[in-house]
């Protein structure tokens, strides 16, 4: 089997969809199979996966934390769409300063950038797989 490169796009939010968990199960198997993940791109409601403030009860899975750990362990770049993020209150220190906001909450290692990075995935990755909400 030839290893392929993938971009994963998550548009469903944790706790209002299964998208982040399906995407994580898929991403783990991709690496097991020897494929490469070029980038994970959060778009629309999916940006809520990058909130450092999500705090589920301690006996429930914390999807943002699970994802952050997976990304860091495997050095996979992860981008949060800036327009989707600003609307939904996902803010890094740069945007906090630009918009003079009272705080920031972007979970590392996610970074904020534009849709250009999604376009790049469309052009460069062998496969682009979307994980949408199911409502």
């Amino acid at each position: 089997m030839t290893p392929l490169s993938y971009t994963l796009v998550i548009t469903g939010a944790p706790w209002s969809s299964q998208a982040p968990q399906s995407a994580l199960a898929f991403a783990r198997e991709l690496l097991v199979a020897g494929h490469r993940i070029d980038r994970v791109f959060l778009y629309g409601e999916g940006v809520l996966l990058a909130s450092a403030l999500a705090t589920p009860p301690s006996d429930e899975v914390n999807w943002p934390k699970q994802w952050a750990g997976f990304l860091a362990d495997n050095a996979i770049p992860a981008t949060v769409c800036i327009a989707s993020a600003l609307r939904r209150g996902i803010i890094d220190d740069t945007e906090q300063a630009r918009y003079e906001l009272p705080g920031n909450n972007l979970l590392e290692p996610f970074g904020i950038a534009g849709l250009g990075e999604w376009v790049e995935g469309n052009v460069k990755s062998d496969r682009v797989i979307y994980f949408h909400g199911s409502n």
Binding site: S22, F26, E29, A33, R127, I129, H132, S134
Partner: protein, 96 residues
Amino acid sequence: MTSTQPANPTLHILNKPPGHPRFETCLQAIQDCDQLVLTENAVLALADRSVTLPAACKAMKADVDARALNEQTRTGTIDYAELVRLTAKHSRIISW
């Protein structure tokens, strides 16, 4: 759009429950050479008597088990390793 394009085998990944408009559109869009995978809420199609599924259809085992649909034998089930293999095999993939 007048000319009929040659069919290109497509992997359809469907996560919407039966009755969702996109569930219906997806089933309409599937061609004979295509593969369908039911994930998340779409696995409810296994229990829905009103749904006619295409021949090349698999359901995600984890989602089937979660919803206690493992007695339903309308399709085979696959795991994430197999889903990865299907995405590698198909150059065209549509997530509904």
